[in-house]
């Protein structure tokens, strides 16, 4: 047994099939229902690792000895065993297995038949994930799961924002809990898409319940690829390579539009700056009023970038052991033209062993090694604001070291504006290494009935950060001198251990099906973070001296820090799964959880229950001709939320420094911001319907939920200190409908198609505010957001624009305009209370960053060996605060987007929605208003893929593997109204967002 296992591990790539006394059996596997061939059926000689799978036409061929048993199995069909006598041809018809179609779904600490579920769980399979070229599996889920909003991030290696059923907490990070092969993560950027077998999204509270408080934002269970017992080894290679391009780049005002704006602004210095540019860079020969410069800064900072991925894996298994081994490499360059890239190399292995009939053990390990160069996000910001009358290079500058980048201060502007110095002279490297290992043992105390399982997981991760700031000189305003050169090193290490123990009892008597689970989970999380910054780096020009040893050793004074945190949690849980006659279902869970963060309330117990009625099993539904399966589901549950930052239950002290007679002196300040926090409680009622109709061609899932967050923790701005402090002071409701429908049909031997759509609505409302004023302010003072009863969380709050004053008569007729010395070209606000004064009482809710509708769809057509698939996604109902335009409140001497420059008010009748150039600079027009809050809806062609499969067969007499070639365009087209280059802004405030590139790839997939 052991020897066999060792053999497996050593000869994974060179397995052989024994040849004794065999003959070849060939045949075709078809569906008994419609006689169409079934591709991909596993054909295995029972008790051996010999086997094959059927080709596209359902054909197979295998060496078999007399007396051996062939097992034919495929998802959705009942397995068939046939003993070989002397036949050489064996055609098999498989009967579809309605229950198997429902398949097995991974739930917490166990599995359940899909037909028995009473909650809302959606599973996405590897083939859907593999279509999208990206570094993070969650990105692939965009538009695929009803009720799940994915907000992409374009930076290489960055994780998208994931929201399940809206935002359910103000303070707790909105991300779901990821459970990867049993281990808990908040971030799965280390996983390669090719490693993933299935992703299950647990949406409703009753499904999440078993995971307790960490699962409050939803749980995503990820199973990585592993072998199965009695499975023929499969070697898979998956790879693609491609290019990314920025799409929908926002047009900025060009030199001519900018100059026009400057002249119309009425600001003498700004006109002077244009003159200064003409004096320095020459006069345009086309238009003598312009300098001979017209820089499109976005064009300058963007670049096409490559992306590629290669992975190879082997899975298989024998009688008493199964295994999976894989390795993969992913690399992605950023579209920002600086050292901005991501590279990741992973290896993974897992082994499961049947030690005896009653004891099983196994181990799983993933090692991930990634190197990431983070972008300087401020470059996006600077590129937006840099004036077009400034060139990238200024060859008139004799003092520049090493590259003569231009500097707007030479024209008179306050800032140097040019984004290139930060892009060229800053470098941010992260080495992210992660090891996850786990072992488990499972013992049948009473075979087939009572099982004990213990699992131990340890995740150890380190992030080693190096930020280098090197030497340059452009002007007195834009330079980094030798003493200021610096290297910041930060070492973070995370160690998380989980120890789970469960006892499962399964029994069946009469029509009763019963599963009882009792378990405990212990968690220990540690983080340590050490950082130091060194200045005055000797040899900063050479990477070989990018170590703190080359810094001036006398200057570490203030620049070394270490922070640590350790956290323990313990939970006990139990679950009952009961079914009567496969008709009536009950699932109930209870979990008690202890958490050190809440000194006043360490332990918390919450209950959940789900019920289901499988109507299609009732006698009156038999032979109804429409429904193959119909189930009504309902669930209710409570879940505590503990992801609320550290304990705020005490006054704390912090260190400060000051100069006393040129002596660096330490002092302390104490804060009295303390609060007595309780956990938030999420309470949800979910009703749903699952159906399969028309011979299982149509699958329908519908869910309606109402979830209330009680004791909502909100940051309350404190009087006097103006610091915000979290308190339990409100309630919030999320309410929505999720629908998904899929139709798949095989039209003929050659043609098949499938089409699917999903939508999710979500209405977020604040239902209670415990505050004297009846609201809580959030966001920045100049860009106010507010929590108000009846409105969505963090609603944008300000005055509403009614139009633009067009002429002097209109100004004179309006007492508001007269009182505020307004002129034509200024914005006109709605006087909500009609008191002829525009003040804070006239502010209203201007929009919410949360979409009320998210949707997705997909269509796949297969003709012979060609597959074409198209996926779309979109959202609507949300708003984006165009903070870039709003930035004018802090700094005026910058560029503006072309849309504004072209549409600005410049005389009666020119526009009724944009202020004039002069008005843009006035405080009156800079108020937080509907002018800055824009519609955030978008519709996107998410993914188009064309694939051609070359079935396994023989090529020039040699056996050739099944090969699939794919051409993919990911996110090629996005349609939106928002005046920015990216409608995906996770918090709705667009200040410096990395653009989302379109990706075009060619891929190949080989299966042996």
């Amino acid at each position: 047994m052991k020897a066999k296992l060792v053999l497996f591990l050593f000869f994974l790539f060179s397995y052989t099939v024994s040849q004794a006394q065999e003959s070849t059996v060939t045949g075709t596997v078809t569906s008994a229902e419609d006689n169409l061939p079934i591709p991909g059926v596993n054909v295995l000689v029972k008790g051996t690792n010999r086997g094959t799978s059927t080709d596209f036409d359902g054909n197979y061929s295998l060496q078999v000895a007399k007396g051996e048993v062939l097992e034919f199995s495929s998802i959705g069909f009942k397995s068939v065993d046939i003993t070989i006598d002397s036949q050489t041809t064996l055609n098999v018809g498989l009967v579809s297995d309605v229950e198997a179609l429902g398949e097995i779904v991974v739930i917490g600490y166990g599995t359940q038949r899909k037909v028995d579920l009473t909650g809302a769980i959606t599973t996405v399979k590897a083939e859907d994930i593999e279509k999208t070229p990206n570094s993070n599996v969650m990105q692939s889920l965009q538009g695929k799961v009803a009720g799940v909003q994915i907000v992409s991030s374009g930076a290489p290696g960055a994780s998208p924002t994931v929201r399940i059923r809206g935002v359910n907490s103000f303070s707790a990070g909105g991300g779901p809990l990821y459970v990867v092969d049993g281990m808990w993560y908040e971030n799965i950027d280390f996983l390669d898409n090719s490693q993933i077998e299935t992703v299950s999204v647990l949406k409703d509270v009753s499904s999440i319940a078993i995971f307790g408080q960490r699962g409050v934002n939803g749980v995503i269970i990820i199973e990585t690829k592993s072998g199965k017992f009695e499975m023929k080894p499969v070697i898979t290679y998956n790879g693609y390579t491609g290019v990314q391009y920025a799409r929908n780049v926002v047009k900025m005002a060009n030199a001519e539009q900018f100059t026009t704006m400057a002249y119309e602004s009425g600001s003498a210095p700004d006109i002077q700056f244009v003159e200064n540019a003409i004096a320095r860079f020459g006069r345009s020969r086309v238009n003598p009023n312009l300098p001979d410069v017209n820089t499109d800064w976005y064009k300058e900072v963007l670049r096409p970038a490559t992306i590629s991925s290669h992975s190879i894996g082997v899975t298989g298994g024998g009688e008493s052991a199964s295994y999976g081994v894989s390795t993969n490499y992913f690399s992605q360059d950023g579209i920002l033209d600086m050292k901005n890239e991501y590279e990741r190399f992973n290896i993974q292995s897992n082994v499961d062993v049947k030690v005896t009939d009653r004891l099983r053990i196994g181990t799983n390990s993933i090692f991930s090694n990634a190197l990431r160069y983070n972008p300087e996000n401020s470059a996006w910001f600077q590129a937006y604001f840099a004036v077009p009358i400034l060139p990238v290079f200024d060859y008139v500058n004799p003092d520049a070291v090493t590259t003569p980048y231009s500097d707007a201060t030479v024209l008179g502007y306050r800032g140097s504006q040019n984004p290139f110095p930060v892009m060229r002279y800053n470098e941010n490297q992260l080495k992210i290494r992660k090891v996850l290992t786990s072992i488990y043992g499972e013992f049948d105390i009473v075979p087939e009935k009572l099982t004990f399982k213990t699992s131990y997981y340890h995740d150890y991760s380190t992030i080693s950060e190096r930020n280098v700031r090197s030497l340059y000189y452009i002007s007195p305003n834009s330079n980094r001198q030798q003493p200021d050169t610096s290297i910041r090193r930060a070492e973070q290490d995370y160690s998380t251990q989980i120890w789970d123990n469960t006892l499962t009892y399964k029994d069946q008597f009469g029509n009763h099906n019963l599963t009882l689970l009792a378990g405990s989970s212990y968690r220990d999380e540690q983080v340590n973070s050490f950082s130091a910054t060194g200045n005055d780096i000797q040899g900063i020009a050479f990477e070989s001296s990018w170590y703190l040893n080359f810094a001036d050793p006398t200057k570490f004074n203030d620049n070394v820090s270490e922070i640590g945190d350790r956290f323990y949690a313990l939970a006990y849980f139990g679950r009952l799964e009961y079914g009567f006659d496969d008709r009536y279902l009950v699932n109930a869970t209870v979990r008690t959880e202890g958490d050190a963060k809440f000194p006043r309330e360490i332990w918390k117990t919450t209950p959940q229950i789900g019920v289901g009625w499988v109507i299609s099993q009732e006698s009156f539904m038999q032979e109804n001709g429409v429904f193959d399966f119909l189930k009504l589901r309902g669930s209710w549950g409570q879940l505590p939320n503990a992801a609320l930052g550290g304990s705020a239950g005490t006054r704390t002290v912090s260190q400060v420094t000051l100069a006393i007679q040129d002596l660096l002196t330490n002092g302390i300040i104490s804060t009295n911001d303390f609060t007595d926090l309780k956990r938030e409680i999420l309470e949800e009622t979910n009703v749903g319907l699952s159906a399969r109709m028309f011979q299982n061609k149509l699958t329908l899932e519908a869910d309606y939920y109402i979830r209330d967050t009680k004791d909502l923790v909100v940051p309350v701005i404190q009087r006097i200190t103006n610091q915000s402090l979290i308190k339990n002071a409100g309630e919030m409701r999320n309410e929505g409908l999720e629908l998904s429908a899929d139709w798949s049909q095989r039209v003929s031997d050659n043609w098949s198609f499938s089409i699917g759509a999903n939508i999710g609505t979500n209405k977020n409302t604040i239902t209670k505010i415990e505050s004297d004023q009846g609201y809580f302010d959030t966001g920045e003072a100049e860009f106010r957001q507010r929590l108000i009863v009846g409105e969505p969380i963090n609603s944008f709050f300000g005055v509403e624009v009614a139009g633009v004053y067009q002429n002097a008569a209109e100004v004179a007729a309006d007492p508001v305009a007269v009182a505020n010395n307004l002129v034509p070209g200024d914005l006109k606000y709605v006087d909500q209370n009609g008191d002829d004064v525009i003040d804070d009482a006239d502010r209203v809710v201007l929009g919410s960053y949360l979409p009320t509708l998210t949707y997705g769809g997909n269509m796949q057509v297969s003709y012979k060996n060609f597959d074409l698939s198209v996926a779309v996604s979109g959202q609507s109902g949300n708003s984006i605060l165009n903070r870039k335009r709003g930035e004018v409140i802090f700094t005026n001497d910058t560029n503006i987007d072309a849309d504004f420059a072209i549409n600005r008010w410049h005389g009666e009748g020119t526009t009724n929605s944009y202020p004039s150039s002069a008005a843009r600079r006035k405080g009156w027009n800079q108020k937080m208003s509907s002018f800055f809050v824009e519609d955030g809806m978008y519709f996107r062609i998410q993914n188009i893929q064309l694939a051609y499969t070359i079935p396994s067969g023989s090529l020039l007499g040699q056996r050739s593997p099944e090969t699939k070639i794919t051409f993919t365009a990911d996110r090629p087209f996005t349609f939106f109204k928002y005046n920015g280059f990216n409608p995906e802004v996770s918090d709705g405030i667009d200040r410096q967002t990395y653009p989302i590139p379109a990706v075009y790839t060619v891929g190949i997939n080989i299966k042996i």
């Binding site: 945190d565 704390t652 002290v653 002092g667």
Partner: protein, 511 residues
């Protein structure tokens, strides 16, 4: 039997596991990585000084907006940075927008500091409980020092906004629930708080202090008391407090007016209160600096080539420059104003000033050359540190320069004003006080000074400093002085409106 054994073995295992969990669950009581206030050792008297340092630290670390907003409305100075911060320029023109971010920022800067200072005071009270002997005296002195720092913050707030909240304890909700206190109540509170503190404060000059060199003393408290009384127009109170400072004979004017505002003038015998900064004479590493950028010229050719320019946000007014030229001022004009070539031409364009004295130049006495820039024509000289006084390797404008808040010449002039307005003082005459100030400035002595002459002297001596000029003018209702260069001042413009963010947060209302 065999089956029972099969069941029992795991049961034993479970028992062991159960015991392990009990041990684990005890860990739920732990909490790493934070220092709770209650964990401080209040019996360790050598640490008692730390909260006082904390209070000084927050007082010193002033936002750059604070002195600008306090000062910009005076007729001595205008908003520079034209085209960059229009609402700052509007503020200078007495058009206030309560959504202007700077108003809220300054409000928060002062009140956040105040919260920290009151917190320090409460920590000190906890140390005092365990103190014995000399340490009780020390605790009392430290507490008195925090009162002086608190008074300074209250005074600034009252000057800017008038009616504000007096903060005495860290129960901020209770302190604000009953609405604002009137400006007079706040000023009286400041004056009384100083009376409370004075008996416990060191009877020395700040630069004579050994424990905290440059820290506040009895005389700082007296100066703040005098300022509060001046605002209340209680001139006898002003004369009494300033008289005590003068009669102590501890203070004298620093001989070189120009260098008083540079490094040589730091912790001089003239300074009653100054914010201390330092880059510790090291080319890199830790530095505690004020952001002087807004005061500086936006374009210059410094002697030390790497020195950063400023932003040009704070521009001495032509009215002030002409006023100084009319008086025949040299030292004080030279010290207060940095001239650009365009600025000099602008003055000369007025036929009455076609020829200017030789010392008017765009090159400073230290050789830094001020160039033209679009945002302003003049920059503040009192906030200028010559590039040759910068620590090598430190290029931030004014790096390491201290910021004087109260100096002896202001004390002398407050005293003189009080006397000319009918208060009695025996220390010296109003003439003596004014002439002490004039002598240093190379100005001829006056006799029989009038109130107006004292106000002119204050204009010349204290221009650009902390809004002294503006608050004098609104106290005296001299709206005509503030109505210059096209501005029109009226009584309703005296105070800033409460910031929108604070209206949303506090029981406040703008009229």
């Amino acid at each position: 039997m065999k089956n029972l054994k099969l069941v029992l073995k795991p049961m034993a295992l479970l028992t062991v596991l159960g015991m392990l969990f009990t041990a684990c669950s005890e860990k739920l009581e732990e909490n790493d990585g934070q220092l709770a206030t209650d964990d401080l050792d209040f019996t360790n008297m050598s640490d008692m000084i730390l909260p006082v340092y904390g209070a000084y630290s927050v007082t010193y670390s002033r936002g750059w907006e604070d002195p600008l907003l306090l000062g910009v409305r005076g007729d001595d100075v205008n908003a520079g940075g034209l085209g960059d911060q229009p609402l700052f320029a509007q503020t200078d023109l007495y058009n206030y927008d309560n959504g202007f971010w700077m108003f809220n920022q300054v409000w928060i800067n002062f009140y956040k500091d105040l919260a920290d200072i009151i917190n320090s005071m409460e920590l000190l009270e906890r140390y005092k409980v365990f103190a014995t002997g000399q340490d009780i005296t020390r605790a009392d002195q430290y507490i008195a020092e925090t009162k002086v720092l608190s008074a300074y913050q209250h005074l600034n707030m009252a000057k800017l906004w008038g009616n504000i909240f007096i903060i005495k304890t860290t129960d901020f909700d209770a302190e604000t629930n009953n609405g604002v206190d009137t400006k007079m109540e706040v000023l009286q509170y400041v004056s009384d708080l100083m009376d409370e503190a004075i008996p416990f404060l060191p009877d020395v000059r700040p630069n004579e202090r050994v424990d905290i060199p440059g820290g506040v003393t009895k005389y700082t408290a007296l100066a703040i008391k005098a300022m509060a009384n001046l605002e209340m127009e209680n001139y006898q109170g002003v004369a009494d407090a300033t008289g005590q400072i003068i009669s102590s004979s501890k203070f004298s004017l620093f001989p070189d007016f120009y260098e008083l505002f540079k490094k040589p003038g730091e912790l001089s015998n003239e300074n009653l209160f100054e914010l201390q900064f330092s880059d510790y004479n090291q080319s890199s590493g830790a530095a505690n600096n004020h952001e002087y950028g807004p005061f500086g010229p936006a374009n210059w050719t410094p002697v030390v080539k790497t020195a950063d320019p400023g932003w040009g946000f704070y521009e001495p007014s032509v009215k002030f420059i002409k006023f100084m030229l009319d008086r025949g001022e040299t030292k004080r004009l030279l010290t207060s104003v940095l001239f650009t070539p365009d600025g000099i031409s602008q003055i000369k364009s007025d036929p009455s000033y076609a020829t200017l004295p030789n010392f008017i130049s765009n090159v400073t006495p230290d050789g830094d050359q001020i160039n033209n820039y679009a945002r302003a024509k003049f920059a503040s000289g009192k906030h200028y540190l010559p590039s040759n006084q910068l620590t090598e390797g430190r290029n931030n404008y004014g790096s390491s320069k201290n910021f004087i808040v109260i100096r002896y010449s202001e004390i002398l002039l407050m005293y003189a004003e009080a006397l000319t307005r009918g208060a009695s003082g025996t220390t010296m005459t109003a003439d003596q006080a004014v002439n002490t100030v004039r002598v240093r400035a190379d100005m001829a002595p006056l006799s029989g000074v009038t109130s107006d002459q004292v106000m002119e002297e204050k204009f010349a001596e204290l221009a650009m400093e902390w809004g002294v000029r503006y608050f004098d003018m609104i106290r005296l209702n001299k709206y005509d002085e503030l109505s210059y260069d096209g501005r029109t001042f009226s009584a309703d413009k005296e105070l800033l409106p409460y910031p929108q963010a604070q209206l949303d947060l506090l029981p406040l209302e703008n009229n």
